[in-house]
Symmetry: C2
Subunit: 271 residues, 2 copies
């Protein structure tokens, strides 16, 4: 673990990340020491910083320097970056200048003995996401809604839960984005009011065309998802996981999802 | 500063307070070593714990023990308590058992040379609070909306900003609750969708009756506040601050506000 470029496992108790969740995070899949889709993660981080008033001058260079200090294992590993606005300020007012805190945490890739790449069980959550366009899309540290949603179930055989917003539109999983396919179109929820704009989601949207899929980003109800031919969730760590059971209904690990998984894996190793 | 009952200034970087804002805080005014309205703060903290799935067994005793380790100065000081869900868990899922982190931070009482108890300037914020009944009322660590609202202005002569929710109803200040008086009624916004249920706000509601004021908790627009005879904001640190300027309009430091300030000060020293 690295804190501001030095080995360490602690942050100041007065850090604005602790006090207010004033910060962002990124979770990188690392293959043989290479953080996959690094540029895309960095772009999302920087755009999050702009939204939250966290200065970015010199940040990209500092992060790159931090990365060189880490000893990555061979094969797959997981790298989490937390970037906070640092310490200080009078209450909620951001100090000027602010001195952000960078935390890199390297850990082993989780082992999934149940072959989730071939299909997972998913449930609907009761927790609703609030509509807050000022915070939508970015991966900020205010994640209580996800904590509440994820704690709705304990059954480890249920791999993910889908969450709607307060209007009743499906938004995402607790830790993943949602896509579904009907006919030859791929649908994924609009994220202008809540939700995180996932790196893999954006890759999927790019890859959909080459799989012969039209793409529609919009507002969908649970019944729209349930009426789909294929459903999957995705994030940087898991890639694409087909949903084979949702709310008591069964779905195929279908043709388009397989094509997208193959195309995505291809793209990933080209990174 | 005390972390889990030991002198310290750091928390684990993997604490759920840092990662998700999975925790709560309380800010106590301390007079001659006595945290004012301690029972009320503790009650709010415990009810927040219940909402966020943070275990409370033995917590009240631990906090009381922590307090005995602190060296309070004479006169006024400020004690902030952050309680997080601690470290661990697979992603958003809370570990079982969870081991909460307690952070006590004692600091000097801020000095206000501009006599804000006689009246402050206040502005309207553009930032809207999202409606999220699962998190309303409690003082959780997901405070990005407050950070965004407070950073809308830099002018130190403006002491507070008022924030509406996404429906356009006035909710509170960035760091305080809002009350206003028209005729012989005291009005304060309902906090069922967002906002923090302040300790001083609740005391004011109790004290209003003895000041000959009827009380109404409801949904109000900015124009309702602007049409008030008297306006004030309140929190545990500042007590009651009359608003004498809001959005270009002037207000009196009026009779009812003075009465409530006097009654509140009386009640405070009886604590």
């Amino acid at each position: 673990m690295l804190v501001n470029g030095h080995p360490g496992e602690h942050v100041d108790a007065i850090d604005r990340g602790v006090a207010y969740g004033h910060g962002l995070f990124e979770t990188f899949l690392v293959i043989n020491g290479v953080p996959i889709f690094y540029a895309e993660h960095l772009n999302r981080l920087l755009s999050g910083c702009e939204r939250l008033g966290i200065p970015t001058q010199g940040l990209a260079e500092q992060l790159r320097h931090d990365l060189q200090l880490l000893s990555f294992p061979e094969g797959y590993s997981v790298l989490k970056l937390i970037l906070t606005c640092g310490s200080g300020g009078r209450g909620y007012l951001t100090p000027n200048p602010a001195s952000p805190t960078r935390i890199f945490m390297l850990s082993a890739m989780p082992v999934y003995p149940d072959q989730p790449h071939q299909g997972i069980r998913v449930r609907w959550c009761q927790t609703r996401l609030a509509c807050q366009p000022l915070l939508s899309g970015i991966k900020h540290l205010n994640r209580l809604e996800q904590v509440l949603a994820r704690n709705e179930w304990q059954d480890p055989s249920v791999r993910e839960g889908l969450v709607c917003d307060s209007r009743g539109y499906v938004i995402e999983g607790t830790m993943s984005n949602l896509c579904f396919i009907r006919g030859n179109r791929l649908y994924t929820p609009a994220l202008d009011q809540c939700g995180v704009e996932g790196i893999v989601r954006n890759q999927v949207l790019i890859l959909a065309e080459s799989s012969g899929l039209g793409v529609e980003i919009g507002h969908y109800r649970p019944q729209d998802v349930e009426a789909a031919d294929e459903v999957f969730v995705c994030n940087s760590l898991i890639g694409i996981w087909p949903v084979i059971e949702l709310g008591g209904r069964s779905y195929a690990w279908g043709r388009y999802t397989r094509q997208l998984q193959a195309a995505f894996n291809q793209r990933m190793v080209q990174c």
